[in-house]
Amino acid sequence: MKTVYLLPLLLLLLSCERELELYRSGDGLNFYRAMPGDTLLSYSFIYGDPDASRATVWLEVETIGMLSALPRAVELEQLPSGANDAVPGVHYLPFNDPAVVADYSVPAGQTRARLPLVLLRDASLQAGQVTILARVKPTALFPLVNPERNRVKIVFSDQLEKPENWISITYVFPFGEYGPVKHRFMIEQTGEKWDDEYFSETLGIVRDAPYYNANYDNAYCDYLLNLLARLLREYNAERQAAGLDVLKEADGTPVSF
């Protein structure tokens, strides 16, 4: 009888030594975000080649789960954004267009891939911006869905766009409220693009806390602010001498620094 009692106990102990199975969460795909705020991409044809009819922006994705020995196709789909949705074939090449569909894959043995999004320079973009709300479509290869990171918004136009790094953190960013007329004035007067790259790489101003990087130099920002204010005073003086009003936005707000 004693053996009968001890045997189950031994069996229970032995069961603890059973080799664990390899954990497999399953495969999925996210948009890669270098910074938490990288949920929005903006582009304007106005900064590029004036004769260009299309432009490519790159959407970076990263996998969840194990590596694959084979390339894995990626499917994206457009969702309604509620803000002037771009029209496939008019404003961008559809995600399943034969010209790009072959590039929509994660290469074998890789966790990340850059997917081309080809924007088309339709004349309507001069009137305003359009939006693509893109989502990673769950497929048999990537069945997992992470709703927090499986979508990205692309806003583009053929007019000046407010850079994402144009922030309202006044103790870092001294250039005030955004306005397209003001933005164009800054570009024309300084010869700089005043786009996201300029803010980040030259001025050191970024959209995420602490809102500046190693390139930031408050003295240089202060210099540019004072320079622009002086140039605006001179510009307005010339306009007023010619009988024109001071520089204003479309809604009548005077441009100021």
């Binding site: 001294p174 500046y212 130099d217 003295a219 240089y220 202060d222 210099y223």
Partner: protein, 508 residues
């Protein structure tokens, strides 16, 4: 039977919890380390740091291990950051460490350990490692060919002559105008290309040169062409340190590293932007007020008094109670007395009247206000003397030199008195000043400083004072080639990056 079986199993399990611990504890002795100063100021390549720590413990000496670890801030320069690299420099009780480290601020840890039980204790001190150029009395002088050069009088009395010629290969064109100490001046380190803050010297000459040298290696961080983002078109007057910033005064106005429109986050590359206000203009007539955390100066272009506050913002001084000097006035002098009073002397060219303005700053960081204007019916000798200097702390007097004789003007009693210094060498008096520095973490001094020039050589002497009058034998003497213009003291302490120091009372 089932109950019996479970009970047996439970008893077996309970037996596993039997306490086999050893509670026969032995008290661990403490280790107390003393004998380390709070900080050490050392010259690289020259000094050897020797420390014999006192260790109070009941452990036998044979059971103790010693380790000295040097922690270097990863932020190069004079400031201590919170990121360090560590290096063991000695594993013996007594430290004899020949200092060869690059200039900077370090922490030195002494660790005493008993390997038998692993008990250890630490003590920490700060090392401020510099070069010979880090500390001392800088002498701005005019060379025989009319240019500007620096000598350095060290604490031990040695004189390092012609520093610019020996380190940079050339003097600065133009006769000397002013010298200012720039504590924690922003600049780009030429080796790491990082934005750092180092103590610097700012030299201005009559030829329009404005040059900033990093003190510890005489790196020429800026000249007049590189000091701004734009091409300069100004006449430089003076560099100085105020509470928040290293300032630069010129005919274009007051420039500040601290930008009031943007919070000072991150480091700047040290170039100046624009004056913080549209109030342009300046001159050599300048006085710093501790209470104001800024300076008051005469704008000789627009004939007005201007005050620059702690944020480097310049504003015209106006008064409801007194007429302010204007277009017909010339400023003859401005000087500080105590933390809250500035004297400024004017001549009204339309009437020939001499007016002594008293400007008071009633509270810390307060705005200045004219509190008295005294007409001087007899301007005496002092008003038009070429050399004038306030006693800034202990006596309400202004030193001046008339026909190569030293006098003082008693401001309160409107009287002039000669000062005889028997030990003053013959020669042209080229410099008088009150030089003072009084902080607990640096050698304090309170000197009357005077220099004479004869046969191409200067003699600079500093005296202790009684009631503002130089007394006794000189406590500092330096002799060298050239003609002394100004003397400024540089202290290397890292805490001088702190605005609590930078705005305080020391001669500028």
């Amino acid at each position: 039977m089932k109950t019996f079986t479970l009970l047996t199993c439970a008893l077996l399990l309970v037996s596993c919890y039997r306490d086999k611990g050893n509670y026969d504890y032995t008290p661990v002795s403490d280790i107390e380390i003393s004998g380390l100063e709070e900080s050490y100021i050392l010259v690289t390549g020259v000094d050897t740091l020797r420390i014999s720590p006192l260790v109070n413990t009941t452990y036998p000496e044979s059971d103790l291990e010693y380790r000295w670890v040097l922690a270097k801030s990863t932020n190069s320069g004079n400031t201590v950051s919170d990121k360090f690299t560590y290096d063991t420099i000695r594993e013996q009780r007594d430290l004899a460490f020949p200092v060869t480290e690059p200039p900077g601020v370090y922490y030195l840890y002494c660790r005493v350990n008993n390997p038998r039980n692993g008990y250890a204790a630490f003590a920490r001190t700060t090392l401020e490692i510099g070069t010979l150029y880090n500390r001392g009395h800088y002498i701005l002088k005019e060379t025989a060919d009319g240019n500007s050069e620096l000598d350095l009088l060290l604490e031990d009395g040695r004189l390092l002559p012609d520093i610019l010629q020996s380190t940079r290969g050339a003097t600065i064109p133009g006769a000397p105008r002013s010298l200012g100490m720039l504590y924690a001046k922003s600049l780009v380190d030429p080796n790491s290309w990082e934005k750092v803050r180092n103590h610097c010297l700012g030299v201005v000459t009559r030829a329009g040169q404005a040059v900033v040298y990093r003190a510890f290696d005489m790196y020429r961080a800026f000249d007049h062409q590189t000091l701004f983002f734009d091409e300069p078109a100004d006449v430089p007057y003076k560099f100085y340190t105020s509470a928040y910033s290293c300032e630069y005064l010129s005919s274009a106005g007051l420039f500040s590293e601290h930008n009031a429109s943007i919070m000072t986050v991150g480091n700047t590359a040290g170039k100046y932007s624009y004056p913080e206000t549209d109030v342009a203009g300046g001159s050599d007539h300048w006085a710093y007020s501790v209470n104001m955390w800024g300076a008051l100066y005469w704008d000789e272009s627009n004939h007005r008094l201007v005050h620059g506050n702690a944020n480097g913002m310049a504003n015209e001084l106006i008064s409801d109670d007194f007429p302010m000097p204007g277009a017909t006035h010339d400023c003859l002098f401005a000087g500080t007395y105590g933390p809250d009073v500035i004297h400024a002397l004017f001549r009204d060219n339309s009437t020939g009247e001499y007016l002594l303005y008293t400007i008071t700053i009633a509270f810390m960081r307060g705005a200045p206000a004219v509190t008295a204007v005294k007409s001087l019916p007899d301007p005496g000798r002092w008003a038009n003397a070429a050399l004038k200097a306030s006693n800034e702390t202990s006596a309400n007097i202004v030193y001046f030199v008339h026909e190569n004789r030293l006098f003082y003007y008693d401001v309160a009693n409107d009287a002039e008195h000669a000062i005889d210094i028997p030990t003053l060498p013959d020669g042209e008096i080229t410099h008088v000043a009150h030089r003072h520095f009084n902080f607990t973490d640096a050698p304090a001094f309170d000197y009357f400083s005077i220099a004479t020039f004869a046969n191409g050589q200067y003699t600079l002497q500093a005296y202790q004072m009684i009631g503002g009058i130089p007394n006794g034998e000189p406590v500092l003497v330096a002799r060298g080639a050239g003609k002394v213009k100004q003397v400024q003291y540089l202290a290397p302490n890292a805490s001088y990056s702190n605005f609590f120091f930078r705005g305080r009372a020391y001669s500028r």
